[in-house]
Assembly symmetry: C2
Homo-oligomer: 336 residues x 2
């Protein structure tokens, strides 16, 4: 089931939702398709070395007849989601878990007297402190499994239709990073196939991937539960056991299972050290590759947070990966 | 690990390779892209009810503004591979396993004295009869795992470059079904995203999916082994344990894990009852859907074989799925 490292923020969130705030820089232009081939394909990126490096890489690997040319079938670009394509303070996944608790208790009020629902409803921190991993696992399993895929799908749709990001009265669509939407479009316009490779559970991200990022469901790789085909219902039943945990070393594994080749372009973020293995795996590509790591260093417009041991930024420095300084490299942070 | 039902034909093949023959109907036209929008998009399909039904379905679900219209993001088409896109007498997967034994013994002649390699080299039927599942599993694990993905990839490439189909001196590319190549192209030209959903191990099929079928690696769903990211090697190591068995009830599960939605168009074949669950799952789609099952009833041009209990054809009849009679519906069977 969920590893401790992934679940602890959930406990944190449970009692600190209101502390989090995002400052969205709103801009009326959402569609970025038109900028893909323009002189300035990345308008929300500040001019400078990093922007030049991204554009130079894309030009290099798409120039036919040169030694650096990458065939279209090998132009695989993988992006982490939380903290890379949208904000992760708090995780949307956690908002969804709490939403599910609320809906389940509404449908069956007796659940409010039953753990782990009771603890969430009553904000009983001690229950999760005492119960540790086991209690948290119980919560995620209770809210994400034990139903068919069709039922779960309906539930994610409902959640995203109404959800607001804590601390800021904006829809979840507005916590996407505008520069990253432009980067996705720019890569696609140059023949790259863009994938989300997330530690989040795959169906939650698939519920919005096309609408939010222009990425179809089958191009989302994520954490998954065990599924069972129920012949009588003609439906997939979600089982309360983890199938694949798609974080850290799980990301290259998820990429191989799903995509079947190393990405040439990989983008992640520092914060939970979740993307180091993916970026390293990309760098092992036989074709020229590009690794990008986002540094959350903008306390004014987004957040400022670091890993205790600075693992991701150290790996980036040691391996010569490109680092995005949100403060310096992004002209604008959030999408409309 | 491999289920008995999947491994038994391997044992059969080991001692009967030369009995199998295919009669390839060769035609110089391989590319079918030009026919996708023509008056006759399926030239290798005989005129008649089935061909009319396929074309009527595609027209119906692509007519915008009608109640039967299927949005592009939901136009998912899934095809089984063995017996559906290419011949399965014998399975190519089995040819690959024997090829691997040969190469491994060449590289390390001492293996010829070690089981299960010894039994394959010496065609020792009794070893596999006595050893049962355990011996067969040992053979598949020994030939398909214990190496990195990069090494396995190189090995599949080498195999396909030289392999000939038993009983007929043709490359494996020539055992593809020409009518199905046209159907894949026709669907793609109408906005469908085509996937292979195979019981075979995923990397073996991915090695040829783009070249043989125009299907990128990430659109192949198959049986997979456990993978482990080896940080020191910066590579995926293939472990000798099954991750997902993508046959029968495993197919809807593989589809959900990988594609994330029910296909509207699903095509399989009778022979091993492997596609019933996939076709049923497709039929549960909320959009108008189409199910196609190939009946291998052409002993002259392909093969004539049935399931003992006729499970697939009975399911097709009970659920009103469309049945391809190779004998009657296909003008030509094999591609060049």
């Amino acid at each position: 089931m969920y590893r401790k490292i992934y679940l602890l923020p959930l406990l944190f969130l449970l009692f600190s939702c209101k502390k989090n705030e995002i400052t969205a820089t709103v801009n009326p232009k959402d569609s970025t398709a038109s900028i893909a081939y323009s002189d300035n394909p990345l308008p929300s990126w500040n001019d400078g070395q990093l922007k030049n490096d991204i554009i130079a890489y894309v030009k290099k690997v798409t120039s036919e007849g040169t030694p650096d040319f990458v065939p279209i079938v090998n132009r695989i670009a993988t992006f982490d989601n939380d903290g890379t394509l949208w904000a992760e303070k708090p995780y949307v996944q956690e908002l969804f878990a709490f939403y599910r608790v609320k809906k389940m208790v509404e449908a069956n009020p007796a659940l409010a007297q039953k753990q782990p629902f009771k603890a969430v409803i009553e904000k009983d921190k001690s229950f999760f402190e005492k119960g540790g991993d086991k209690a948290l696992i119980e919560l995620v399993a209770a809210t994400h499994t034990g139903m068919t895929e069709d039922e779960f799908d309906a539930s994610t749709k409902e959640f995203f239709a109404g959800a607001k990001y804590p601390g800021k009265n904006v829809s979840l669509k507005q916590i996407r990073y505008q520069p990253q939407l432009e980067l996705l479009n720019y890569l696609r316009a140059n023949g790259f196939k863009t994938f989300i490779v997330t530690g989040g559970t795959v169906e939650v991200v698939r519920a919005i991937s096309a609408d939010f990022y222009g990425i179809p469901k089958d191009q989302v790789v994520g954490t998954s539960f065990k599924y069972k085909f129920d012949d009588a219902k003609n439906a997939i039943q979600r089982q309360p056991a983890l199938d694949h945990f798609n974080d850290k070393e799980g990301k290259p594994v998820g990429i191989q299972l799903h995509i079947g080749q190393r990405p040439v372009f990989a983008c992640g973020n520092e914060g939970g050290a979740g993307d180091i293995a993916m970026l390293k795996y990309s760098q092992g590509n036989k074709y020229p590759s590009f690794q990008l790591l986002i540094n959350h260093n903008d306390s004014i417009r987004e957040y400022n947070y670091q890993e205790k041991d600075n693992l991701s930024l150290n790996a980036a420095s040691n391996n010569k990966w490109h680092i995005v300084s949100i403060k310096d490299d992004w002209k604008k942070v959030f999408a409309d």
